[in-house]
Symmetry: D3
Subunit: 127 residues, 6 copies
């Protein structure tokens, strides 16, 4: 485990539970096809970028949620809404951030993100 | 001046100087071709959306900057970086938000946004 | 019910059946997570925009179908093809509009839209 | 000159003046780098697609304008607004089509398209 | 069967098995709604474009895979990864091409493409 | 100079002249606003990704050119066409790759990329 990986692994725990962090490595669904992807995400995204000083975890979560909603990438929208909640954003703040996007990206992508959000809530209630 | 317009006009002053707010209405470049656009932006974007409770102006600015950078719309990137600075974001916070986007949208659009940001700084120094 | 809402609600009936219009409000799937979204769509999209003079409902339907197909947003493609048919577009006109997009956005998104269209037809035949 | 080319060349005259149609072939700016591109556009886009029955020229123009505005491709936005005007769309119809896009793609791309439109008008007044 | 169609049909066999090529025509899922689409794909995409000299089939496959992954169109990503394997690309080459995209389009779309790739592998193992 | 940086710096010389490689570091236009961006590009994009085994430089260049053309990011299109030529792609191969994109992303973005390409040629002839 190099420095960037352990720094990334430590940072990611601000966004996911300890159990999920462990599962991300042990049960990587893409380990067979692209064994280096997970490592690249932890080292680069979390080790090099998320862990930089100068911006708090909540603001980073807003930025990432907005990016994936604007691109319309569905599984990542759900993932990063969950990570934003873990990082301390409230449900109200996330919903307001999504509504703030309407004048900039239009209703369809916002509506799809709110549907994902609704799915996050439902699965949270079940657990 | 209806309620939504005056609410929007009041809200926009959190993001631009008083002089700019006045200029937006008096010297609307698109007044000839689409006289209702400016009204629609102030009433809907600022009156209905930006002015909602539940999310502070700085977070709204992060969300909007991220949306326009992810779409790659150039003049709006410059505009909303300036409005974000006016709303209280620091230069460091904006640069960090842009770098946070690299793992999600790639280097090209981040690089173009930082070039816009650099233009904002230069014109600020000149004035 | 304010003016914009009732204007929007009246306008939306050019695009959906009376039953669907009622269901949009009574059975809003996102009412829990974002109670204001439906209101915003009816007031702004239908009340302020769709109801403007100067362009007929069929042309508005073409424009909206094209926008959602070009963005590649799947559920909205199906929704707005149905609304276009309700507003008076024929199946031929919609298929031709989609084929007209091939030289501008490429085959993949057009193919996905035609697959949605095919789904709209099938569900219409079933009912 | 094959059949598809002459069919395309005939069709394109619904969208541009006779002089422009001639210039498109004689003064093709990309003739050195990609000599087949112009031929491909005339044969495929205009010969195979635009010339299909079942949808009138004005509706095709709406569809193409919407596609290029939604993608945010600047020179093509200007080009196809001009072609739409030539095909018989009025200025009001085009502006209304662009405003109709606001709830679906957001203000920035609509604003940029209206700026292009404003450029089309200005150059028309000059000539 | 015209020249462009037979040229396209011959070219497509570099990318799919003989059985699949036959099935594309006989069992076209969109034959009811848009009977000309399949013909347009074979004549234009394969007959006019893929069959041009100056670039080998493997490079064309890289280009098409990259385009559909960058757009985020899911069924086409799977389709063109399979066609690329048929055209002679190795699994390693495709995975490396996808990882090469990370710095340009970000992790989410690459991750979704690798998930599709993983699905291609799994279905190949089953058959 | 750490290992990733020197690996990236060595790799980048497959894509740019020695003089350009030096200039990228010494005359970084964004050094004031985001001093870490250049380092991030060299360490991550070139050190971690481009330098991976399993795919040759020409194929990587095809993949990157396609990604930036599909996104429609103009300065990067020019940059990566130049880097592709330096990595050994011929002008014919690049033009064919761009034409191969027409059925997948449509004419507008291909046309804009060919215009960039034409600019690369012209500036090459001048030097």
């Amino acid at each position: 485990m190099n420095d960037r990986f352990s720094k990334g692994y430590k940072t990611i725990k601000q966004y996911v539970t300890k159990e999920e962090a462990a599962r991300m490595i042990e049960a990587d669904a893409l380990a067979d096809v692209a064994p280096d992807l997970r490592k690249m995400i932890i080292e680069f995204a979390y080790g090099d970028v998320y862990s930089r000083p100068g911006l708090d975890a909540k603001s980073r979560a807003f930025v990432v949620i907005t990016a994936v909603v604007t691109q319309g990438v569905a599984p990542q929208t759900k993932t990063h809404i969950k990570r934003g909640l873990h990082a301390g954003l409230t449900q109200t703040e996330i919903v307001e951030a999504l509504l703030q996007l309407v004048p900039y990206i239009g209703f369809p992508r916002v509506q799809n993100a709110l549907t994902s959000f609704s799915g996050v809530q439902t699965s949270a209630e079940r657990s």
